[in-house]
């Protein structure tokens, strides 16, 4: 599914990822945990294709297809989804119109037919309910005036609508209360399937109480420094990241 090998990425001329290698097979959920500044967000933005993150070496493939040569929208059309740590507020852009335009752009790029307005409306109502956003929230300009938690719900709504093949969740748990964490868990667990993969990037173990990962990796100093099973997250919660910062 998602293969990252020896990835080197710089931001503003300084190298953040220094040879990161990670393989997430289809059907699995992997968590990447790490201290602040270890390169977690750089990893997610590089995979999604943000222009400010320059790749100097390495490869990222999804089902064997190179991602790094693609535009961000082409990556989305291939089924890649990034749940942003800090989702944008976009005044003047109507939420439903935007999500429908995005969904149909992806479908068009894949050579699929557009989703009709009626179908779309039906689908978004069901999924908005799943993520706990009421009708009034999806009839407003995108994320405008939303709380941090509501913005994360909007990310989950988009993930549920797009049904991506591979989703990266960049600190989706930050700023969430218990109910919202449960909701995120529910959305991920609903979407979990043998064909789909997830990369959960987080600082804390608590989201993993709701989403049981198949593997946990520790990111420090721009590399994966340790990998293990779900227990590794609990271990980190107790012992902290210091040992890895020193090692890196």
């Amino acid at each position: 599914m998602l293969n990252i090998s020896d990835l080197h990425t710089s931001v503003d001329g300084s190298e953040i990822l220094k040879g990161l290698t990670l393989e997430i097979p289809a059907g699995e959920v992997h968590a990447v945990m790490g201290p602040n500044g270890s390169g977690k967000s750089t990893l997610s933005h590089t995979i999604a294709g943000h222009g400010a993150y320059k790749v100097s070496a390495g490869a990222v493939t999804l089902d064997g297809d190179d991602l790094l040569g693609l535009e961000p929208n082409e990556r989305a059309a291939k089924g890649l989804f990034l749940s942003f740590q800090h989702p944008m507020e976009i005044p003047g852009v109507q939420t439903m119109n935007f999500i429908r335009t995005a969904l149909n752009s992806q479908r068009k790029a894949r050579g699929e037919g557009e989703m009709s307005a009626a179908e779309f409306l039906k689908a978004i109502r069901v999924k908005a309910k799943l993520v706990g956003l009421d009708d009034s929230k999806i009839k407003r300009p995108f994320n405008v005036g939303f709380s941090g938690g509501e913005k994360k719900r909007m990310e989950m709504l988009q993930m549920a609508m797009f049904e991506p093949r591979f989703a990266i969740m960049d600190e989706t748990d930050s700023g969430l209360d218990i109910d919202a964490l449960k909701m995120v868990g529910e959305v991920v667990n609903t979407l979990r399937s043998p064909e789909r993969g997830f990369l959960i990037i987080t600082h804390y173990q608590r989201l993993l109480d709701y989403i049981k990962p198949d593997a946990v990796h520790v990111l420090a100093g721009g590399r994966i420094v340790k990998s293990g099973g779900a227990d590794l997250a609990h271990e980190l919660e107790k012992s902290g990241y210091d040992q890895f910062i020193e090692a890196a």
């Binding site: 222009g51 961000p72 852009v93 335009t101 969904l103 797009f162």
Partner: protein, 410 residues
């Protein structure tokens, strides 16, 4: 013949003065207007208020007509079933059969502009050069349901059009005005509206000239007590296009709302200049301007609120925001307040910026291609200008105009 005060007139200015003098003089007022024009000649960059829009320079050279007219055919308005009047090369021509009680439309003699426009040289020139003036009268208490479409059209040379509109007490009318100059023409249009007590007037402006043309459209309205004046305009620019709006809150509390958008590409230039005079108490003004410039385009906004001593409890707010899509595009903003009353609430704000790169990435990560993402953000930036238009059909035409323009933006 009076002494020319103009030293070194350009060929265009000399030609205009000669033509004005040669016309059958309409007496002293006509001569006074010629004298007013000759004090400065065409406005130029060393004159206050004209620094960024130099008509003398724009009209100095032979106007080329090689650039194609930007396509926004006026057929867009057909669906609104308007009462259509064309002023083609200065000559009013009523195109729709009009037999509406309380509405009179005819071609009359040109008239002098109101005094507060005296400082405008092109208005003075217009007074001496216009052959006729369109007159529209809406009688007291009459509401005209169909929009009145006034198209100012110039196809070659220098053309002067005039319109005078009188709106009776408690009358209601909506006007769509188009400024269409093409083929390198220079169009000067002067419109004066007098809105009597409690009239409701909507004005929707579309400036759709080509890139070789030069345009100066001056619109002045005086508002009596209880009048609600509502204006939205869009400019696609020209070699040089200036749309001036003068609003006089003349007596009693009245309301004015002005929204405008400039959508400029290539090397086009558009100038929105407005003067809102608050000469009566408890008047309200809301003004909003948005401009998007790409390539080498230039957008000018000069907005001035003047509050006279009599304008106590004026409530006036102005914002101007520009979005620059290229390094060579330019926005020149000059918001001004001139206040002589002591109990007023007046504010203005102005911003200039580029598209937010993080917002672009967000949209692209959701599947929109670069052009689609940019278009969506530009549309979002402009949205509230057009959202304010209360007439659904007219709002639709504004949106079409924006979409046509966005389709050509790279």
């Amino acid at each position: 013949m009076s002494q020319s005060l103009l030293i070194n007139p350009t060929a265009f200015e000399a030609g205009m003065i000669a033509a004005a003098q040669a016309r059958a003089a309409n007496g002293a007022a006509h001569q006074a207007a010629i004298d007013r024009f000759m004090r400065t000649g065409l406005p130029h960059r060393r004159m206050e208020g004209w620094r960024w829009s130099d008509f003398r320079a724009a009209l100095r050279t032979e106007r080329s007509s090689t650039i194609a007219v930007k396509a926004f055919p006026s057929s867009h308005f057909a669906g609104l079933n308007p009462i259509e009047i064309r002023i083609v090369n200065g000559v009013p021509n009523i195109h729709s059969d009009v037999d509406i009680e309380g509405l009179r439309i005819y071609s009359g003699k040109p008239a002098m502009a109101p005094e507060y426009l005296d400082g405008l040289p092109i208005v003075a020139l217009n007074e001496t050069m216009a052959d006729s003036a369109l007159a529209v009268i809406v009688e007291d208490g009459v509401a005209i349901e169909r929009p009145i479409l006034i198209r100012h059209i110039a196809t070659s040379g220098a053309k002067f059009s005039q319109a005078r509109v009188t709106l009776g007490k408690r009358s209601k009318a909506r006007f769509i005005e188009t400024y269409e100059s093409s083929g390198g023409a220079f169009l000067s249009a002067v419109t004066h509206v007098s809105a009597r007590a409690h009239a409701q007037v909507g004005r929707y402006v579309f400036q759709i000239s080509d890139e070789a043309s030069v345009l100066d459209g001056v619109f002045a309205v005086s508002l009596s007590e209880g009048v609600v004046f509502d204006q939205t305009g869009v400019a696609l620019g020209a070699k040089l296009a200036r749309l001036e709006t003068h609003v006089l809150h003349a007596d009693g509390a009245s309301q004015a709302r002005l929204s405008s958008a400039a959508l400029l590409s290539g090397s086009s230039h558009a100038d929105f200049t407005s003067r809102i005079y608050h000469a009566a108490s408890k008047c309200t003004t809301r003004q909003k301007h948005k401009a998007v410039m790409t390539e080498k385009a230039r957008g000018v906004f000069q907005g001035k609120f003047r509050v006279e001593r009599a304008g106590q409890q004026t409530d006036a707010k102005m914002t101007a925001n520009a979005l620059l899509l290229s390094d060579e595009a330019e926005a020149d903003h000059k918001p001004e307040l001139e206040i002589y009353a002591d109990d007023v609430e007046c504010a203005h704000g102005s911003t200039t910026g580029a598209l937010d790169e993080d917002a672009l990435f967000y949209l692209r990560a959701r599947g929109l291609d670069e052009q689609g993402a940019r278009a969506l953000l530009i549309e979002a930036f402009l949205a509230d200008v057009f959202d304010d238009v209360t007439h659904d059909g007219v709002r639709g035409v504004f949106r079409e105009c924006m979409e046509v323009w966005l389709g050509g933006v790279r």
